[in-house]
Amino acid sequence: MHDFAKHAPAGTDWAALRRDFPILDQQVHGQPLVYLDSAASSQRPRAVIDAISHYYEHDHSNVHRGIHELSNRATTAYEAARVRTAAFLNARTPNEIVFTKGTTESINLVATSWGSQHVKAGDTILLTELEHHANIIPWQLLAARTGAKLVYIPVLGDSGVLDLSRLDELLTPAVKIFSLVHISNTMGTINPVAELCARARALGVMTLVDAAQSAGHLPLDVQSLGCDFLVFSGHKILGPTGTGVLYGREEVFATMPPYQGGGEMIVRVDWQESKFKPAPHGFEAGTPHVAGAVGLHAAMDYLDNVGRQNIFDHDRDLAAYAYTRLSELGGIRLFGPGTDRAGLVSFTMDDVHAHDIVTMADQHGVALRGGHHCNQPLHRKLGVPSSARASFYFYNTRDEVDTLIEVVEKIRAFFNR
């Protein structure tokens, strides 16, 4: 049984941290906002909003182009964010960090650039049934271009756990790349990525870890994970929308052709052909999202001040509490592992569609997500068109989980009247 008593690690003033998030202090539909949709996008603390405003008020110009003072400041700020990101992931060098507009673009970059160089007809791309559409469709497009095929590690039904008994059969040297999610955005499953990457590496198979749901929630170390690529989005880790990270091992980046062409990424341009910079700048054509990088830097500082292990423990505790309370209600079908789950819970209610749950909850101030959470094939496999999801972050409280439970009970009573 989960020990709910010692949920808040001593020494952290969670209530004070919550007050750093101005948006949370409001009413919707006349009720206090209970924001339980951080897996879709987190909210931003004042420190991040201020860092972006400060940048625009004092330091903005284009990067890497000008000789003047403001351009210097913008370039310094942008590159400092890269150094900070390398530290955030324990990458060996900042050259292993490419800024993108999000997880989706990071995966498309790898599938397009690395894929065009290394994947041929008959090759296998290995995924899991837990993947978000962002980690399915770029590979489908690559498969359609090259004649490669997609193979999926199955999920064991509602438990949300991968059927790793199939691993020997599915992870073979015919696999060119194994791309997998760290934390499932629907099931809350935490995949054993370090172990899986080690298995892949032993066979010479490349790995990509989709850390969209983990980067802001637990400590990440790309060297001990042993992956070749790792991707995430800024907006899910307190940072600005339109920012994202692609970590890649330097040796791997060196084998990849450019993704997009344009300014910033060139060494020399002639009328017929050009020479390109190596990573990271060779993969960042055009004026980048400088203010975004500044905001992301502030977000990483904020997260590490709180401590990602601390955050992980807090979120997991809330999810375990919510899971237990929901399972006590009856008539609720819960998805994902009963223990060792990340900070989110998806569920369906007998005879009540997820859309109806979310509309009703919203009228009570509770923001949930309802739908297929960009996991259509997985929902089809589970035999439900959609589910409702509550996802937690360190600014959420146990009282908010209690509100959720009250609202779920009201919804059931309403539809059973």
């Binding site: 859309h355 109806d356 509309t359 009228q363 309802g370 739908g371 960009c374 309403f414």
Partner: protein, 161 residues
Amino acid sequence: MDLDLEELYQTVVLDHSRKPRNFGPLADATVTVSGDNPTCGDEIALSLRLDSATDRLEAVGFTGSGCSICMASTSLMTTKIKGKTRAEATALLADFQGMITGQTPAAEAPKTLGDLRLLNGVAKFPQRIKCATLGWHALKGALAESAPVNFSLDNHDGSKS
């Protein structure tokens, strides 16, 4: 319970969503159109049996799954269009569209809509308008002169996970 919610989920609406009328495949259908709402995974297939001599919808049936608003709206629709001429069904469609999008004020919704007027609460929930119109989009496709096409409602709400 909140008034807007009471208005959205009226007893008749809940009744139709629990026990949809004309639910099931239709034998001898002359036309079937399927549509889905990719945002939420709702799917509806609407079948009509059109008598070409009288131009009347002799029989109507639908299959699929959806939220309560989607199921109730489609169910109520089928009870309303059964036996109507194609022109009458087309007029009903226009009246319903006007009401559900809020273009026609609730008080002025045409009487011909009957119980469908109970769905006027949806206009206050913009994210749910698509739920209420999925079956009607299928009707529009089925009544069209051209060959029926299956469709997908665009995902404009941009919701992400």
